[in-house]
């Protein structure tokens, strides 16, 4: 059993603190994705787990061992780097076997494990090539193969797909998911791409500025973001966030437009409270062009500034209360800019955040 546990982990560089006492429990065989904008401390956290960065305070344990002061090689984890970090002077076979060989394994054992990993990743044909002769996707696969041959207690992925082109990225994403299903092991995966986070994770950890904002399954994080940062970071296109005030049980926007407070949130807000009203583009659709029948809706008229055709849906850019608001049109028809449409807003999918704290008003 090798879960990973972080307790009050702090990292500072001199007087600059970049990770502020984070707590995280990762279960055995769980796929956890750390996601956040650059500079949020996610890579530093991963490198502290790997042992490549010292921790300034707190405890990290892998399994039941506290590994605070262990060098990387004694932690029994393997890591896949953004730049692949293949050994350029060794061929694929030697790259895969390097970790085992220096661990003093017999030649036969190394050969067998390398073959096994090569089979899993479809590298058998490439074993004699050197990294310079491989394509980006192949190099990425070798990097993953090098991680799995050692049967480590945990895999650490540091933005492994960000060097690949868009198409290959989607393909490798699927392969990583499949790989995890085949070799069930604890995985910590760092990315700034929320799509990768959503598709891969058992649990997502959203980080910002060295703090953990929210931990939850992809559905939890998507459907119940705890604050405006998570709400805008997860989901594409991002949630519309519109400032408003609660007046006599209604949400009143700056231009005096009023819509009802969603009934499930009615008890969580008080009159006169400054709030931010959040609605995803998927839940703001012209009448007749929604994807689901909402139980609780309200209609508003908006003028379309720009329509982006995506095929199965069209993104509609409108202006509401002086800010850009995006809606979606499923089963689309042609829309000309300047056209005014009546949008149906699914109130049961709407979010309300306290304007001062940015936290969701929903009780947890």
């Amino acid at each position: 059993m090798a879960g990973i546990s972080l307790q009050n982990v702090v990292k500072n560089y001199g007087r600059l603190e970049v990770v502020h006492g984070i707590n995280l429990e990762i279960d055995h065989n769980e796929f956890v994705v750390l996601v956040g904008p650059s500079g949020c401390g996610k890579s530093t956290t991963l490198r502290m787990i790997a042992g490549l960065e010292d921790i300034s305070d707190g405890d990290i344990s892998i399994g039941d061992r506290v590994v605070n002061d262990l060098p990387p090689r004694k932690r029994n984890v393997s890591m896949v780097f953004q730049n692949y970090a293949l050994y350029p002077h060794m061929n694929v076979r030697e790259n895969l076997g390097f970790g085992l060989k220096i661990a003093g394994q017999s030649k036969e054992a190394v050969e067998q494990r390398v073959q096994e990993a090569a089979d899993i990743l479809g590298l058998s044909e490439l074993l004699e090539r050197i990294p310079a002769e491989l394509s980006g996707g192949q190099r990425q696969r070798v990097a993953m193969g090098r991680a799995i041959v050692r049967h480590p207690e945990a895999f650490l992925f540091d933005e492994p797909l960000s060097n690949l082109d868009a198409k290959l990225r989607v393909q490798m994403r699927t392969e990583i998911k499949k790989l995890h299903n085949k070799v069930r092991t604890t995985v910590v995966y760092v990315t700034h791409d929320q799509v990768e986070a959503m598709t891969l994770a058992d649990r997502i950890v959203v980080m910002k500025d060295g703090y953990i904002e929210q931990v939850g399954t992809p559905m939890e994080v998507f459907n119940h973001p705890v604050n405006t940062f998570v709400a805008s970071f997860i989901g594409s296109p991002p949630m519309n966030l519109i400032p408003a005030t609660i007046t006599s049980g209604q949400v009143e926007f700056r231009d005096a437009t009023k819509i009802p407070v969603p009934s499930r949130l009615a008890g969580s807000v008080s009159d006169g409270q400054e709030v931010i009203f959040g609605i995803r583009p998927d839940d703001l659709t012209p009448i007749g062009h929604g994807i689901h029948e909402a139980r609780e809706t309200t209609d508003i008229d908006l003028t379309v500034d720009l329509a982006e055709l995506l095929g199965t849906e069209t993104l509609l850019y409108t202006t509401f209360v002086g800010q850009e608001v995006q809606g979606k049109m499923f089963d689309p028809r042609d829309v000309t800019p300047g056209e005014t449409l009546t949008f149906r807003l699914s109130l049961d999918k709407a979010h309300i955040f306290d304007a001062a704290s940015g936290q969701s008003v929903r009780r947890h």
Partner: protein, 383 residues
């Protein structure tokens, strides 16, 4: 249209011309030395080395064999026959004559009538027949003026002299091996030490690292002449004295700052991810050094090795101070050549040969190793 991006005819031409000039500047003296080392002293004195590559035409006076010893009767006449080159040299005769006023009177194969029935026939290959009466075929041999075109002529005699004769003008073979004995350890020892030091200075964290690097850079600018006497006193004081050990240590010391500096700068540029990956893969610092850093640093190691090798090979000063003693048993090639300049200064063929012996090894080292200088070992490891 002349200013299309990427097209700079003026600059390109300047580069091409300078490259050509540099190559010419380097190739011609080397080639000249090489050719001269295969020529005799007379040839060097009479014509330039470039002439040695083509057939040369000279006018020469030959004399037929002594008639009193060699004549054979032929009827009532006597005949002397033979070859004017007498086994030496050779060539092809184009025109010839029997007097200095008409040295080109006949072509090869023609017969010259000397009057009263006395004749000389000369073939192109030098065979002659001199025919005449008893009276005519006597006394001294007939003079023959011939214009001879001889093929290029080279000799290995210089090498034999320079390498294998003892004394001044020789002994290069021994000096050659002495130089090798100095150079090889004096190249390997500093590389070994510097590679370890460079790895530590580049990738291991320890207090005072920056200070050490600064010290290495500072040592780069210390002229070695400054250290000659104190170092020699130290060597004599601790009992190393003059000898190979002393000169190895001296070359090592003088080479280390540059070696550490070059190698550290190269190693610091290796991708951090590779080293971190090896660390996570379970490698110790020593394993990372041996299995990752050393192979990847090969171009830097090779280029420093070339520098250090050439510098120690061509060195005279350090060898004079730390190695060469009164017995002369440990003399190196540079010293040997200096001595030859003194004792055999006029024998250009000896000097050219000695010089070529001493540059032959650096030349081949450079040509064998130069591909490591240009090969990029890192292609493909990181994006």
């Amino acid at each position: 249209m002349d200013n299309i991006a990427g097209k700079k005819p003026g600059l390109t031409w300047a580069v091409h011309i300078s490259v050509f000039l540099l190559v010419a500047l380097w190739v011609f003296p080397t080639l000249g030395l090489f050719v001269s080392s295969f020529r005799t002293g007379d040839q060097i004195a009479s014509s330039g080395w470039w002439a040695a590559l083509f057939p040369s035409e000279i006018n020469e006076v030959y004399r037929a064999a002594d008639p009193d010893d060699n004549r054979v009767p032929d009827g009532d006449l006597f005949v002397v026959s033979g070859n004017i080159f007498e086994g030496e040299g050779g060539g092809e005769i184009s025109v010839w004559g029997t007097s200095s006023r008409a040295f080109d009177a006949f072509r090869a194969g023609e017969t010259s009538d000397l009057g009263d029935g006395e004749t000389v026939t000369l073939e192109a290959n030098g065979d002659y027949v001199w025919r005449g009466t008893d009276d005519q075929i006597s006394g001294r041999g007939q003079r023959i003026f011939a214009t001879v075109t001889s093929p290029p002529e080279f000799t290995l005699k210089n090498y034999d002299t320079v390498l294998f004769t003892e004394g001044s003008g020789g002994g290069m073979a021994k000096a050659f091996f002495n130089t090798l004995t100095v150079t090889i350890p004096a190249t390997i020892i500093p590389i070994l030490i510097a590679a370890f030091a460079a790895y530590a200075l580049a990738w291991m964290d320890f207090p005072g690292r920056a200070l050490l690097i600064a010290a290495v850079v500072a040592l780069l600018v210390v002229p070695l002449q400054l250290a000659l006497i104190p170092l020699l006193k130290l060597h004599l004081g601790i009992g190393i004295g003059k000898g190979y050990l002393g000169v190895w240590l001296a070359h090592t010391g003088f080479g280390l700052p540059l070696a550490i500096y070059l190698l550290r700068n190269y190693m610091v540029g290796l991708p951090k991810d590779i080293i971190e990956n090896a660390r996570v893969d379970g490698a110790t610092d020593f394993q990372i050094f041996v299995r990752i850093i050393l192979p990847l640093s090969f171009p830097a190691l090779a280029s420093f090795a070339i520098f250090q090798f050439l510098w120690t090979w061509n060195d005279l000063l350090v060898a004079l101070v730390f190695l060469i003693d009164a017995t002369g048993e440990t003399t190196v090639m540079t010293k040997q050549i200096v001595e030859m300049l003194g004792t055999r200064g006029g024998n250009w063929e000896i000097l050219a040969t000695a010089a070529f012996v001493s540059i032959a090894v650096p030349l081949s080292v450079f040509f064998l190793m130069q591909r490591y200088l240009v090969r990029g070992l890192l292609a493909g490891s990181v994006k």
